[in-house]
């Protein structure tokens, strides 16, 4: 045996090179074989189909879509719908998860048990079943269009969805937006000033109350000054269905509901383990400082607990985004349902479409974890 092969380090590198070569060779072989077989069978390949007319319609689309639109547009609509339902899913599951996670450790026996029952129930049922369950429950319990539940002739609920007035912004509406931005900047300023003042003088300032007043008051003032530039379009029963206004379909609601409730159980557990990981002395110290239980939670326990919980919460967010693809079961038009489903079947371009879809999910997941990892790094306790 040549002497350099006896060197453990060199051998290690050699093994790695061999492994990579074999792996790349395998990939190359698969790609070749695939291309050959496809050609032999007379299956069309390439990405030109993206510019062909789709020919079918999509129920809910955040951007204009008609049957004359292209498959590329189908992809865009699917991606947007995936992002929309994922975004709201992340918001709601975080809120529910935080609440349940805190409840889970409540000294109140009833609240504690309710939280435990919630977690054990919804964590252990496959999310696909939950989606189907909510969808069928929603459809079974809601009345038909003509017998809609009617709230003040503005909000209607029936088995076609949840209809509410849509706000229409006219000239001058920008002033309201500007007022909101101004309010947020104001709150940050007040917060900083209050903190500084407390550090210097020990006096507290009602930051939260001031914030709310600013956030509501400034836009309201702008609304009145600009001459009430916001009007509402009310949904109206017209022929078969309601028209105008904003609609949430049963598919969207069932998916959002199921994803939020399911993912919240994991987030709650992450929060709970985070809270339990905070040393007991922290709480005792907070008590001895005379902080109320709520203050203890808000100022001492949660900031430390969330730091510990963030990495596992990131994973749950990624799971939620990927689970949204189960919408295919109830027909919510997200990426997998309409692009990797309908478009794939209408064009038959399985390889191309699956490749695009997988890369898209990969990209979304990488971006989300990049953002959250950056956030995590920022939140981490700085060890010096």
């Amino acid at each position: 045996m040549p002497s350099f092969l006896r060197d453990e380090k060199i051998r290690g590198i050699l093994y790695q090179i061999i492994a990579i070569t074999l792996f790349v060779g395998f990939l190359f072989y698969i790609a070749q074989n695939t291309a050959h077989n496809i050609e032999q069978r007379g299956i069309k390949t390439g990405f030109a189909f993206l510019h062909d007319t789709a020919g079918f319609d999509i129920t809910e689309s955040p951007i204009p879509f008609t049957p004359a639109s292209t498959h590329l547009k189908v992809f865009e609509v699917g991606l947007l719908n995936t992002l929309i339902v994922s975004f709201w899913g992340i918001v709601f599951s975080s809120l529910i998860g935080l609440l349940i996670g805190i409840w889970r450790l409540s000294p109140n026996w009833l609240i504690n048990r309710i939280a435990a029952a919630y977690i054990e129930t919804f964590r252990n049922i496959p999310v696909l079943l939950q989606i189907l369950f909510w969808y069928n429950v929603v459809l079974a319990t809601l009345p038909s269009t003509r017998h809609s539940l009617n709230f003040f002739n503005a909000v209607f609920i029936n088995n076609r969805g949840f209809f509410m007035p849509k706000l229409v912004f006219q000239d001058g509406a920008w002033m309201i937006g500007a007022a909101i931005v101004a309010a947020i900047i104001g709150i940050i300023f007040v917060h900083r000033w209050a903190k500084k003042r407390q550090e210097e003088t020990g006096e507290q300032f009602p930051v939260f109350l001031t914030g709310i007043i600013l956030l509501i008051g400034l836009p309201l003032l702008a609304y009145l000054i600009a001459g009430r530039p916001v009007t509402a379009v009310y949904p109206e029963l017209h022929g078969f269905n309601f028209r105008g206004g904003k609609t949430f379909t049963p598919e969207f609601l069932a998916l959002l509901f199921a994803l939020s409730i399911y993912t919240a159980t994991f987030i709650a557990e992450a929060i709970r383990s985070g809270i339990e990981a905070v040393p007991k002395g922290q709480k005792e110290a907070a008590t001895s400082l005379g902080l109320s239980p709520l203050q203890q939670l808000r100022l001492v326990i949660l900031p430390q607990a969330v730091r510990i919980a963030i990495p596992s919460i990131i994973n749950q967010y990624l799971n939620l985004i990927k689970n949204s693809s189960l919408a295919a079961a109830i027909g919510y038009p997200e990426l997998v349902t309409i692009f990797a489903g309908t478009s794939l079947n209408q064009t038959g371009q399985a390889l191309e479409i699956l490749l695009i879809t997988m890369l898209t999910y990969l990209l979304i997941s990488l971006i989300v974890s990049l953002i959250l990892n950056w956030f995590n790094a920022k939140m981490k306790i700085k060890e010096r």
Binding site: I43, A140, A328, G341
Partner: protein
């Protein structure tokens, strides 16, 4: 880790979609069983009964093909597929033949790597609505919500029809016919649309069939045909001539009951060739002598298959109409056995 897994799954997807097969006939003979892709549940065409036995017109084609190739109509493995899965299953070799109320279209025939054999059922797309809506014609459906199965020609026709008639609609699409039916029954949509045969089949599944009505308009041509993989001409020939044999048998009045008598006594040269008394019809297809005899003996002729599964004495109550033989004013026609 995630990246690695995704990479691997991508490779796996590519690999499974493209397993090369030699001759389908050899594969089927070697396996001793025919893998047939069918509908997940469409009464009269393809449905598993309470004992798990598959029944229906599409199913009977699989049985006839198994009888022709293997001599035994029961040697079929049924693979239930939804509309979205069916072509990939055929392309990838998961099934040997797709017999699943599939419309023959130009795009599918030319770009999916598949070939359609002869038409088993001439169909057209229609609409079903609850009687309570008071709708009498499809032209009154402006603004309606329509339940539909994803990835079908129906889905495209629907969009075309509403566009041509300057009407608007909302389509709610689902993967399987069962989901479509359930949503329609729950009132999620005003209209259910699919091939007319499918509408009659679906109506038998509803809790209160008499509360629903099929509208008179037929908006498309839907020639439903079995399909095989492109590039295997021998297998394509066998699949085509199995269907032709079923039609010729009906035309000549040969049934399950009298096929033995016809084989022994018939003087008609075409019947003799069909039943392998004379000629080399089965040899030409590299099959055993009496291949078509087996299919007729075990499954029956086209007319028997039609009446048994979807005809006027079944819950579907479908008239022969376009599916009558050419000699009876219909479109069903077989090239001669010569």
């Amino acid at each position: 880790m995630m990246k690695k897994l995704l990479k691997l799954s991508a490779v796996a997807a590519l690999a499974t979609a493209t397993l090369a097969t030699a001759g389908t006939l050899d594969d089927v003979k070697k396996a001793g069983i025919l893998k047939c892709g069918v509908n997940t549940g469409l009464p009269g065409f393809s449905e598993a009964d309470s004992k798990g036995q598959w029944r229906g017109l599409d199913v009977d084609y699989c049985r006839a093909l198994a009888a022709v190739v293997l001599g035994d109509a029961s040697k079929v493995k049924y693979v239930p597929l939804n509309a979205k899965e069916r072509f990939t299953a055929l392309q990838s070799g998961e099934i040997d033949v797709l017999s699943r109320n599939t419309t023959n279209t130009e795009t599918r025939d030319t770009s999916l790597g598949i070939n359609f054999t002869g038409v088993m059922y001439y169909d057209g797309q229609g609409f079903m609505v609850p009687k309570s809506l008071g709708v009498k014609s499809a032209k009154e459906l402006d603004g309606a919500t329509v339940c539909i199965q994803a990835g079908t020609t129906t889905e495209l026709n629907l969009a075309d029809y509403f566009r041509a008639n300057h009407m608007k609609f909302k389509a709610i699409t689902f993967d399987t016919n069962d989901q479509v039916t359930k949503a329609f029954e729950a009132g999620r949509c005003d209209v259910l649309t699919t091939d007319a045969s499918g509408l009659y089949a679906t109506r038998t599944k509803l809790a209160n069939p008499e509360k629903y009505v099929v509208l008179p308009e037929i908006i498309s041509k839907e020639p439903l045909a079995p399909a095989v993989r492109h590039g295997d001409d021998q297998w394509f020939d066998i699949a085509k001539w199995t269907r032709n044999a079923l039609l010729t048998a009906e035309e000549k009045g040969i049934t399950m009951a009298n096929v033995d008598e016809a084989k022994a006594k018939s003087t008609d040269p075409e019947v003799k060739r069909l039943l392998s008394v004379e000629g080399k019809m089965c040899d030409n297809l590299k099959l055993e002598k009496g291949c078509f005899y087996n299919a007729i003996k075990q499954v029956g002729n086209y007319g028997e298959i039609f009446e048994r599964n979807v005809g006027v004495k079944t819950p579907l109550k479908i008239q022969r109409g376009l599916n009558a033989l050419w000699t009876q004013g219909g479109l069903q026609y077989s090239p001669p056995f010569r």
